[in-house]
Each structure stands twice: as C-alpha cells, then as structure tokens.
C-alpha cells in the first residue's frame, strides 16, 4: 500500500433508524451513517460493533446506501452471540462502525447483460450492485438470480417482468427488484412456490443456454455467497468464457489490512500470493481465487 490509501475509511457512531425482523432470524438493519453512505459502492462492507459487551467487530456487506439521506442497509442472520445482541437493538440506539471498506465490484457497463448471482447472506451486495447498474448504466439489462435454503428475507412476489428461456412457473421474485424494473428470479431446494428447484448456478446455466453467441458475449457475472456456490459460479463462468467477479467472506479481526487474518490464496502474474479479503478484496476475479 502507499500513502494514497490514507484517510479512506470512516469511523462513525451510526444510529439505528429501522430494524426489521424476517423469518429464520434474519434482519434488515437501516443505519444513519452519513459518512459511509456517501462513499459506499457495491461490494463494500462495514465493520460493525454489535454491542459494547462484545468488542470484536463483524464485517457486514452493505445492501443499499442512500447518500442523500445518510442511510445504509445491511442484512444479517443471527448466528452467534454478537448478532444475537445486535438483533435486540432498537431505533435510536448507536452502533460504532468502520466503513466503507474494500475493493468494490468493477461495473463498467461495457457488457450489457450483467448476471448477478447471490446466495443467502451473499444476496445484499447483489441488491446494491443492481441498484448501481440501474442508476449508472442505463443501457444494461441486469438479471438477478438469488438462492436461499432458508426462507427469503423479503416478501416473495410473482414477477411481472418476463425473462425469455426460463422454465415455466419460475416466477418468484424480489419486490424491490420489481419496483426498479429489474428482472429477478429465486432458487431453492426447499420447494418454495415459484422458485426454481435447484441451485443458483443451475438456473443461470439454463438462461445462458438460451442466449445466442452474440448475446452470450454481452454477459458478465457478479456473485456473492457461500464458498461452495462461488466455486460453482467460477466454473460456470469458465465454461462459458465469461468475465466473473466474486465477493468473498472470511473471519476478520482488523478489517483494515493490519492483521493478515482474513487472507485467501490468489493466483497472480508473479505466482501464488496471500491476499487480504478486507482491503485487497472482498471482490476478486473468479479465476484468480478459484483456478480452473
């Protein structure tokens, strides 16, 4: 790193604006964090202190940012003491955070058919990216496919937006995407109505197979989710010769590049290297972290 990285991450006392509970202990937390909201990009995360009694912070992806109002949204699932205490926070409570952190997705709008693949708590960055593409790359036509093996953290609705080539009956969608006019489809092995019975990558493959070579060349994949899913996504991208960026997760201590606690093995031009998920990522070229 050089001194140009100085002063790029805010430390702020955010205020809870809204805290919504969904099934299976999933929560959407809206925070007033104006400094972070102003600079956040899709793929960025915050390092959040859940409660004073647990001083170690938790990395959480940013799902939405409203720079004008100073809001950021995060989605989390309770899976330990920290998130349990976080789930008790009410409107007006203060939470200390570092943000925004990390290298965001590179979305240039160069390829017109961005395919966004999100799994579980990896869905939030895809939502943020979809909104970003809608606002900044108007000639792009993104498609979002989200998978979950627990119920979805939003009211699933039948889509009014047609997507050619998908199996009949696969119409379950994310309401926010519908509002934005972005087609979305859901997958699960749990037999939820309107969802495709399979993995995110299975439905993505069906869609890719319907595209003619010229349209296929316009596709670019962005993904976030469990490692096993990202591996499958990287394989899919390789098979269809598509550019693909994935956002990774790892346990973190500092989240600013100081401890090397969060590294992953990455293939670089000069051989294998350990890169830090927090500041060298979390977004990486799929082929460099999942070599094919």
């Amino acid at each position: 790193m050089s001194q140009t990285s100085r002063n790029t991450i805010n430390l702020e006392d955010a205020k809870v604006v809204e805290h919504k509970c969904y099934s299976d202990q999933q929560y959407v937390l809206r925070l007033y964090a104006p400094l972070t909201a102003k600079e956040a990009m899709p793929g960025n995360f915050i390092h959040l202190q859940c409660d004073h009694s647990i001083p170690m912070r938790r990395p959480m992806s940013i799902m939405r940012a409203e720079p004008d109002k100073g809001f950021i949204d995060i989605l989390y699932k309770v899976h330990g003491e920290g998130t349990e205490l976080l789930s008790k926070k009410c409107q007006g409570d203060r939470l200390n955070l570092l943000g925004p952190i990390g290298v965001p997705f590179k979305s240039t709008g160069y390829r017109k058919l961005p395919l966004l693949l999100g799994g579980g708590v990896g869905i939030p960055p895809m939502v943020f990216l979809a909104e970003h593409i809608k606002n900044n790359h108007k000639n792009c036509k993104p498609l979002l496919i989200a998978g979950s093996e627990i119920s979805f953290p939003f009211q699933v609705t039948p889509s009014k937006i047609m997507v050619d080539g998908l199996p009949d009956g696969v119409i379950a969608s994310m309401p926010l995407m519908e509002d934005w006019g972005i087609p979305s489809r859901l997958t699960s092995k749990q037999g939820y109505t309107g969802c495709y019975d399979g993995f995110v990558t299975d439905l993505a493959k069906i869609w890719l197979d319907t595209l003619d070579p010229e349209r296929l060349q316009q596709v670019e994949i962005f993904s976030c989710g469990p490692t096993i899913m990202l591996e499958a996504v990287a394989k899919l991208a390789h098979k269809y010769h598509l550019p693909c960026q994935v956002s990774l997760e790892e346990y973190m201590a500092c989240a600013v590049g100081g401890c090397a606690g969060c590294t992953v093995m990455v293939n670089t031009e000069s051989g294998q290297a350990m890169k830090r998920v927090c500041v060298d990522g979390p977004v990486f070229e799929a082929g460099t972290v999942f070599p094919q």
């Binding site: 790193m1 001194q3 647990i54 912070r57 500092c254 590049g257 969060c262 590294t263």
Partner: protein
C-alpha cells in the same frame, strides 16, 4: 529526563518516543495500514512494531487464521511476510519516519536466520529491532527458542553481533521461569524486553469437531490475558530494574487503567494490539488519560510511576 511540559515523552534505549504507546507487531501490518482510517495518525503513538519478518517470504497458515474468544481472540497467522529484503526495499520507503519510531520484528527458524534478518534491518532506516522468540504459530523456531533460556540467549547473542541498533527481546508467557530467561537475554546483549507475546490456546468447532483455526492452535490475545501479562511484567521487571533495561508491557491493554497497571508493574512503554481492532482511535484517548492521571496525582513524568508497585507483606 523530559521537560515538565511533556510528561509522556520518553527515552527508550536512546530512541525518543513522543509517548509510551507502542502499536504491536502483527496488528498494524507494515506500519501504514491503520492510516486508512480517518482520524488515525502514526504521530499519535511513540512507536510502531512492524509485522514479524523472516529471511524468505512466507505465505502463512491456512484459514481460519483468527477467531473471537471470550474477552479476546486467537490468531494463527503463521508469520505471513514478504521476506526481509523486500520489507527493507519496498515497505520501509513508504513510511514517514518523521511521524513516529518504527521497530522491525525479526523471526527465524534457525539462529543464523535471526542473525541474517537482523543484519538486513541493521542496514536500513529502522529505529530498533524486536527479536520475536515467542511466536506460537510456526512449526519451527519462534517459541522453540523462546521457552529455553540458553536458546533465547543464543538468538539474542547472534542478533547482537549483527546490529548496534536497540534490541528488544519479545518474551513468551508459555515458559517456566520468564525472569530467568530475561536475565540470560540481558547477559547476551538485549537492551529491552517486550512482555508478553500471546498465550497458546485452541477453539473447537463443535459441529465439525475440528479446531476453528487452520493451524489447530493459536495465540490468545486481548483482555483475557491481561492478568497473566501483568504478573510476567512484574517478574521480568525484577531482572531489569537494577540494570536500567526498559520493558514494553503488553497483553490485553484496552483502557487507561490497564496501561497504568502495567506501568506500575514495571513497564516503561505500553503495547496496544488487539484493542486497536476494538477501537482503532483509542491511542489518543489513552495518551490523554495518562496525562490526566499524572496531573491528578502530582506526577511530572510517566516514568515516575514505573515499577512503583508495593507488594503486600
């Protein structure tokens, strides 16, 4: 002795520190990482210890490398570093030496390697060298040298041959008689001590029935180890006090009171590691808090507190 109006400025083995706070090795990369945070400045601390460095580059351990525990954390980074030559050539030039003092942290799997790495840093702008004979996270070397006084002394002796810069030996809490080890290291030429490095420990994933850390075991840091660290500082101080050998006390310091306890136990400087992960800007508050305490207790300089512990009869 420092002027009255600068109660925190101190001399540490000939280095002038702007205050007793030292950022600890392994927590702040190679010195620039925390400056990413707005409001953080290297100027706010007396010195910064860089990440443990070996002769050749090391990739480090498999994930997970860090995990939270009750009032602390375990780490098993495995000394990931780009090798001493690269650190000197590519990393040191990025540092602004007018902001604070920078201390290298040297590790090796043989005595020769310690000596060689020390020599490489000797020929660099680095202000001092910390000998890490207490890393629990590498298969060879590290703590192997740290747990046996004669071995520790041999490492210190070798490093001493390679440099005239201040040598700080970082002692392991995972040994029988830390004070005896300190005595041997002083004989061998150690100018100062860092007390303590992490305490070895383990976390287990009960679903998978495997250790959480890729390396199976790791080093425990943070408030959980503070009482252990305090006693070790007190013990090492007994070997140091008559010889004017200063100690960087460390292990779980997060508050002004913690820092004061360490100073009273015998520390000249105060190391901050894990607490940075909690509160990245805490050093400013710690320095202010120390100044306030001195004022309230009519002390003109922080060194007047060092080793003032009175044991119960």
């Amino acid at each position: 002795m420092a002027a009255r109006n600068t109660p925190l400025v101190l001399d540490f083995c000939g280095m002038k520190l702007s205050n007793p706070l030292v950022l600890l090795s392994g927590c702040v990369g190679f010195g620039e990482e925390y400056t990413r945070i707005k409001g953080f400045s290297n100027k706010d601390v007396g010195a910064i210890c860089l990440k443990g460095t070996t002769l050749n580059a090391r990739l480090g351990n498999n994930p997970h490398r860090v995990t939270e525990t009750n009032m602390g954390m375990l780490n098993a980074i495995g000394l990931q570093n780009p090798g001493a030559v690269t650190v000197v050539k590519d990393y040191l030039p990025l540092l602004d030496f007018s902001e604070t003092r920078f201390i290298a942290n040297v590790s090796g799997s043989t005595i020769d390697e310690y000596e060689e790495v020390t020599r490489i840093f000797d020929d660099s702008p680095i202000d001092a060298i910390e000998i890490n004979i207490s890393c629990p996270n590498v298969k060879e070397g590290g703590v192997q040298f740290g747990n046996f006084p004669e071995m520790s002394a041999k490492v210190v002796e070798a490093c001493r041959r390679a440099t005239n810069k201040p040598l700080i030996t970082k002692l392991s809490p995972n040994q029988t008689d830390i004070a005896e080890n300190a005595r041997c290291c002083i004989e061998a030429g150690s100018d100062a001590f860092a007390v303590i490095n992490t305490v070895t420990g383990m976390s287990i994933d009960i679903k998978k029935r495997i250790p959480v850390l890729g390396n199976n075991l790791g080093g425990l840091s943070g408030p959980a180890i503070k009482p252990i660290a305090l006693l070790k500082v007190h013990q090492v101080y007994q070997a140091c006090k008559d010889k004017n050998i200063p100690i960087i006390g460390q292990g779980g310091i997060t508050t002004v009171d913690d820092a004061l306890e360490f100073i009273i136990a015998g520390a000249t400087a105060i190391g901050i590691g894990t607490a940075l992960f909690y509160e990245p800007l805490l050093c400013k508050d710690l320095a202010d808090g120390l100044t306030t305490f001195l004022k309230e207790n009519n002390l003109s300089h922080v060194s007047e507190l060092t080793g003032t512990l009175r044991l119960n009869e």
